[in-house]
C-alpha cells in the first residue's frame, strides 16, 4: 500500500488515472461482496439470491464511485505535493490525505471539513506507519544479508 519508494508505479500524471481506476475496482468489488452477504441476509427466504443481486446492483457502484473520488483526489494531491516539494516521503501522503478529506467535506462547512481532514490525515498516518513497520518486520534490510567472503585462491602453489 505504501506508495513512496515504490519503483513499479507509473510516473506521476498517469498514476492518477491508475489510482482512480484501482480505487473504483477495489470499492466496487469489496462493496459487492459486502452487500451480497447483507442483501441475502435481509431478504425473505426463497428470494435470497435475487435480493442479494439487487442489493449489489444498487449499492456496489455507489461505493466504488466514492472510493474512486477519494483515490483520484488523493493521488492528485500527492502528485501536486511531490511536484512542489520535489521530495517523496510519508508527509506527502499524510498531507494529501488531510487535503482530500478537507476538500471532500467542504460543502458541510468549516467544522465538518476540519473533522474530515483530520480523519484523513490520521488514517493515512496510521496506514503509513503500519506499512513501514510491516516492511521492516517482513523484509529485513538487504544490507544485512552480505554474501560470505570467499578466501582468495592460493596462488603460491
Amino acid at each position: 500500500m505504501s506508495r513512496y519508494g515504490d519503483y513499479t508505479r507509473d510516473p506521476c500524471p498517469w498514476v492518477i488515472l491508475n489510482d482512480t481506476g484501482g480505487a473504483f475496482a477495489m470499492g466496487a468489488i469489496g462493496s459487492g461482496i459486502w452487500h451480497f452477504v447483507k442483501g441475502a441476509k435481509n431478504s425473505p427466504k426463497g428470494e435470497r439470491i435475487i435480493g442479494a443481486i439487487t442489493a449489489v446492483k444498487a449499492r456496489a457502484p455507489v461505493l466504488g464511485g466514492n472510493f474512486a473520488v477519494w483515490g483520484g483526489l488523493f493521488s492528485t494531491f500527492d502528485c501536486t505535493l511531490k511536484g512542489i516539494r520535489q521530495k517523496e516521503d510519508p508527509w506527502n501522503l499524510i498531507a494529501s490525505g488531510f487535503l482530500t478529506g478537507g476538500v471532500l467535506a467542504a460543502r458541510g462547512g468549516i467544522g465538518a471539513s476540519a473533522r474530515s481532514a483530520a480523519f484523513g490525515a490520521f488514517a493515512l498516518a496510521l496506514i503509513e506507519g503500519i506499512s513501514i513497520a510491516a516492511s521492516k518486520f517482513f523484509a529485513p534490510s538487504p544490507m544485512i544479508q552480505m554474501p560470505d567472503l570467499q578466501p582468495p585462491p592460493n596462488v603460491s602453489a
Binding site: 500500500m1 508505479r9 510516473p11 506521476c12 475496482a25 477495489m26 488514517a123 496510521l126 496506514i127 503500519i130
Partner: protein, 107 residues
C-alpha cells in the same frame, strides 16, 4: 526474482488492513464514547464492537485492493529485462537513469 502469488498479496493486504482497522477503531471508538457516551452494554462492549467492525471492513477492502493491484507492471518487467541484459542497457542509458522516477530526471 519471483513475484509472490496473488493470494499472498491478498493475505498480506488483509493482515495490514486488519492492523490498521484495529488501531483506527480503537481511536474512533474512544472518541465516540467520550463524545456521545457508551451505547447499551457498557464501555468495553461499544469499544470492542467498534474495533472489530472497523478491522473487518478495513481488512476486506485492503485485501481486495492489494489483490487486484498485484500484477507486475511494465516498469517491473522493464527492470527485470534490464537486470538480465545489464551490459546493453536501454537506448544507451545506464540502468540507474532508467530506474529513476520522472521527477529525478533533470534531463
Amino acid at each position: 526474482m519471483e513475484q509472490p502469488s496473488r493470494i499472498e498479496y491478498l493475505k498480506r493486504g488483509a493482515l495490514m488492513g486488519g492492523a490498521v482497522g484495529v488501531c483506527l477503531g480503537f481511536a474512533f471508538g474512544t472518541y465516540h464514547i467520550l463524545r456521545f457516551g457508551p451505547s447499551q452494554g457498557g464501555y468495553l462492549s461499544t469499544l470492542s464492537r467498534y474495533m472489530i467492525s472497523s478491522a473487518g471492513s478495513f481488512a476486506l477492502f485492503m485485501g481486495i485492493g492489494s489483490f487486484i493491484r498485484s500484477e507486475p507492471s511494465k516498469n517491473m518487467m522493464l527492470k527485470q529485462y534490464l537486470e538480465q541484459h545489464r551490459s546493453h542497457g536501454f537506448a544507451n542509458l545506464p540502468v540507474e537513469v532508467l530506474e529513476r522516477k520522472r521527477w529525478d530526471r533533470k534531463f
